[in-house]
């Protein structure tokens, strides 16, 4: 099993569709410079969420980043409340973590088909400050988007396992 070369473009199609369906948010691809400019203007902290996956042939990771203000909007929309609502503020990081989980799973199905049985780990998440958020937009290989006038980025990596097989102690989650 190999990841198609156009996995970034598949991801670029999926992210807007999932964000719209799951959180009623419209987003469009933008270039890196526009994303950096938007991040500098906002000076907001951010959330980075990632999901690792593997099987006997390959392993990889899908990672997404978004400003904390966008995460609050996502949480508010999903929970049916306003972004400023304390419930949405408290759920912002968790809501974005779930977005990463959904996008990764759909991306893997799109890339590898639904007959494959990949081990998909529970998502991990971290909050980063405004400087780290701006710097994260400089990382090569990311796809950038605009959602609610706020940047979002997505990174997808997939490599074949070496002769020793999958990583030791790889997650056993389904």
């Amino acid at each position: 099993m190999q990841a198609p070369a156009d996995c970034q473009s598949t991801a670029a199609e999926l992210l807007p569709a999932i964000l719209e369906q799951h959180a009623f948010i419209f987003c469009d691809p933008i270039d890196r410079e526009a994303a950096i400019m938007a991040a500098e203007n906002q000076a907001d902290s951010a959330v980075v969420a990632g999901v690792a996956f593997h099987d006997s042939v390959c392993r990889g990771r899908c990672t997404l980043g978004a400003s904390l203000s966008l995460c609050r909007i996502i949480a508010g929309n999903v929970l049916g409340t306003e972004a400023e609502d304390p419930m949405a503020v408290a759920a912002a990081t968790d809501a974005f973590k779930e977005v990463a989980n959904i996008i990764t799973a759909h991306l893997l199905t799109s890339l590898f088909g639904d007959e494959v049985k990949l081990h998909i780990a529970a998502p991990d998440v971290q909050e980063i400050d405004a400087t780290a958020w701006r710097d994260s937009l400089e990382v090569p290989g990311i796809s950038c988007f605009d959602a609610e006038s706020s940047p979002v980025w997505l990174s997808f990596t997939c490599t074949e396992n070496g002769p020793s097989g999958p990583p030791p102690g790889g997650d056993s989650s389904g």
């Binding site: 779930e98 989980n101 959904i102 639904d114 049985k117 780990a121 529970a122 389904g174």
Partner: protein, 131 residues
């Protein structure tokens, strides 16, 4: 009859969305219990009378596949319907879960209507004991 529900998902947001969808759907809900992983879910099943379980697959501590396997080994799957709610689209995994006795599968993201329809189907099957 009001149904006692257990929602097992590591995302608090998802647990809240499922609980809210069930309430808004006008289904006869008794109490709603929550667990953040399969281990907590099994603990709740030992403590509480649960009529229907919603279970995610990818969770820390104990994933949904392992929780379902424990339920199967303990004979709980014959008594308590389990609906898998996951973003994972692997047919191989779903087939394995169905073979173990899982009642239904909903793929995230889902609409409240999808959730409601699956619950109604499960309740109908539960009453008829023919599904």
């Amino acid at each position: 009859m009001a149904y006692n529900i257990l929602i097992v998902d590591d995302s608090l947001t998802v647990r809240q969305v499922i609980a809210r969808s069930l309430t808004l759907a006008g289904l006869p809900i008794g109490s709603i219990h929550e667990a953040a992983n399969g281990r907590e879910g099994l603990d709740q099943l030992e403590r509480e009378w649960i009529d229907l379980v919603f279970c995610d697959l990818s969770m820390p501590v104990m994933d949904g596949m392992t929780m379902v396997a424990h339920m199967q080994n303990d004979g709980m799957l014959q008594q308590t319907p389990v609906i898998i709610v996951t973003a994972d689209g692997s047919i191989a995994k779903i087939d394995e879960l169905r073979a173990r006795g899982v009642s239904a599968y909903i793929r995230k993201p889902f609409t409240p209507e999808q959730l409601r329809n699956v619950v109604i189907d499960c309740m109908r099957c539960d009453h008829a004991s023919t599904c």
